[in-house]
Symmetry: C2
Subunit: 295 residues, 2 copies
Amino acid sequence: MSDLDSALAAAAADVERLMDVVLPTTGDAEAPLIDAMRYASLGGGKRLRAFLAIQSARLFGVDARCAIRVAAAIEFMHAYSLIHDDLPAMDDSDLRRGRPSCHKAFDEATAILAGDALQSLAFEILTDEGTHERTGVRLQLVRDLAHAVGAGGMAGGQMIDMIGENTALDIGAITRLQRMKTGELFAFSAGAGATLGQAGPRARAALHGFAQEFGLAFQITDDLLDVVGDADTTGKPVGLDAAAGKATFVTILGVERAAEQAGLLVDQAVHALDIFDETADFLRALARRLVDRVN
Amino acid sequence: MSDLDSALAAAAADVERLMDVVLPTTGDAEAPLIDAMRYASLGGGKRLRAFLAIQSARLFGVDARCAIRVAAAIEFMHAYSLIHDDLPAMDDSDLRRGRPSCHKAFDEATAILAGDALQSLAFEILTDEGTHERTGVRLQLVRDLAHAVGAGGMAGGQMIDMIGENTALDIGAITRLQRMKTGELFAFSAGAGATLGQAGPRARAALHGFAQEFGLAFQITDDLLDVVGDADTTGKPVGLDAAAGKATFVTILGVERAAEQAGLLVDQAVHALDIFDETADFLRALARRLVDRVN
């Protein structure tokens, strides 16, 4: 196991432990809702966004407990988006992380509500004083996260993605949609450490640049895996995009040029981190890893 | 037009004006999402929750512009819950405020995303410094609102409501479900003025008590209108609860005892406001109005 793998596993374990505590099972009548929230948010996932938050916090000497709280908020938010994306009215996906998606394991109503309640929970965690001693810092985290997942970010990107099922998007439109749909939450995650550490604009800009390029490279490799991967390793059905007739980086650029583009973006992401010392090596290694997964 | 009617109309106009500004139409690709958010949140509704927030703020001499911002956040949050409640997987309601519900006017995917983005927007508004000069106050509003709409509040209440379609709930379970589903957001609304005005525990407790009794009385009269009302005045189909075989206050208590109970709750709500002077008269009149609508 490489150092990066160990660090990824440690971050995933830390964030999962906190998520488990924050979201206890209940004997009350709303128990199925809590069960669905736990089902969709615990027990799996690469926790890449949590890792970005935890690693960016290390750059500024932030208390790990603060970073893990923010990471939990991000992972709850991410889990909500996956639940809603998988719904029949959206991507209609029955499988997620190798298990039935939330609406298949429970039902549609429960899945919709579980996503809704996970979103509120993400914001609620950030408001707790354990997240940071300064109210101004907690408030900035709430504001930035709300912005990242709203109509100008994640939700807006998913809307364009849905429209793309019936309309041919060009490469500019796909880039914008992905920057909104996945890029903004990646940027929030990588920027969270700078916010917690009250870092200056230069460090913030560097992490933002890293996250933007990283996020796009991540999406392109995801599109590539939909074509060249298999369900056993990716944990979800492959060929969905092609079956839905959706334009992706790969359908427009082709496999070879898409892989080339991902490599270029990873180089730019790593370059954006040049102002940091070796404390940023895990972030650099993670970006490099993206390209490896499709080669 | 009574003084109460004028005050209600003024509050509705004030909050609607701000909501319209906060949520501008766009020429970008995600335009249908913004259109759906505007469709579901603007142009109608009694704005009772906004009124509670604005009137409670008056009790503590809070700047009206702050109260209107909080009221807008509450109404966006309420609009999100109505969109999701109306979905086919939930209450499957085609009509809302006398118009096609959001998923009928647009489509299910757009409606789900519009609800999701309205929830984020509600939190984002609260973080703006225009809401209150102190970060601690804004943060408390975010925390309280997140708690009010999460698994222990609005979303949890809706979950129990869905379970109630297949399981007979008793009066205790229905009371708890309604306190969660609608009571918590009413309590947040009435408490918002105290938070903005940094009021003491006695005032907070009084407003909480008022909102709890008011919310329950509101729900009982809503159940009554489903039986004795008509679609023209209520703006939504009637007889839905009976058709769905759902237990409500009315199916359990009967029309007469339910009306009696609503009257009792209104008395208690008004009594809770005894510590306030005549500045609270609009809140008192609003509570009294509830009973009038079903008599």
